[in-house]
């Protein structure tokens, strides 16, 4: 289970081994199923890693995602005619991270000049 926050993006890094194909000919994406619609974000494929960035979900969808809701997430790898889902999991929506600061007191600095 992966924790996600509505107002914060997440980056997932997967180690992988590829043989028989160059990383240039494959693409990858990370997909989250929400209310029957797939939200897929492109991932970067390097020689031995796949790096998938999930943006803050509240910037992606108008669906209301309640805290505690879980959704399916999967990694898709697509090549020339082939398709693999090497990883699946669930995400859980956590309380958004918010920092509120309130100014408690405002005092002007006092400068006193005394004659010598």
């Amino acid at each position: 289970m992966i924790n996600v926050y509505l107002n914060r993006g997440e980056t997932l890094v997967f180690d992988y081994e590829l043989s028989g194909l160059s990383p240039d000919v494959i693409s990858a994406r990370i997909c989250i199923e929400i209310e029957g619609v797939d939200f897929c974000f492109p991932a970067v494929v390097t020689q031995n890693q796949i790096i998938a960035s999930i943006p803050a979900l509240n910037r992606v969808t108008n669906y209301e995602l309640p805290v505690g809701a879980t959704f399916n997430i999967r990694l898709e790898v697509i090549g020339s005619g082939f398709y693999l889902v090497p990883w699946r999991d669930n995400i859980i929506v956590n309380q958004p991270i918010q920092v509120k600061s309130v100014q408690l007191d405002r005092k002007s600095p006092r400068i006193a000049i005394k004659p010598r």
Binding site: R29, C31, I34, E35, G36, V37, D38, F39, C40, F41, P42, P55, N58, R59, V60, T61, N62, Y63, I78, G79, G81, F82, Y83, L84
Partner: protein, 146 residues
């Protein structure tokens, strides 16, 4: 093809699927919007593939304020295979919306009738002729009576 951003749309594709068990296939209509692929599941039958696209505004955060071209593709995946069966550009039209704000009504809204002005046919003729001077009007009326 055009989509209106606040309306659902149904797409139907004719298809011929042979050599594979249909129940093992999954289909998605992918809409590429602002770097994100939104995938709507497709129903695959032997001779047709249908996709019911919900109103884009209901799930896409990006507002469609003007005509927007988006790439759409129909992906079919099976056990270990991938097929991009169709690809095209769709035009998303913004929804036409009108907001009516209530106008504040001041006062009690009384209507007072101060007097009635009788308008006759001759008055209308004066107006048409551009005669505004009341003395001229009276003269003409007297002459007409005679």
């Amino acid at each position: 093809m055009e989509l209106v951003s606040n309306k659902p749309h149904d797409l139907t594709f004719e298809s011929e699927i042979t050599g594979v068990d249909i129940s093992q296939l999954r289909g998605f209509l992918r809409l590429l919007i602002d770097g994100i692929e939104y995938g709507i599941p497709a129903t695959i039958r032997k001779n047709s593939i249908t996709v019911s696209i919900p109103a884009l505004e209901s799930f896409v955060k990006q507002p469609f304020e003007s005509r927007t071209e988006i790439l759409a593709k129909l992906e079919i995946t099976g056990p270990d295979f991938y097929l991009n069966a169709w690809e095209d550009t769709l035009v998303v039209k913004p929804a036409v919306k009108a907001r009516v704000a209530p106008v504040t009504i001041q006062g009690s809204g009384k209507v007072v009738v101060k007097g009635l002005k009788k308008t006759t046919d001759i008055d209308k003729q004066f107006e048409r002729a551009g005669i505004t001077d009341p003395r001229v009007k009276e003269l003409i009326k007297k002459k007409m009576k005679k």
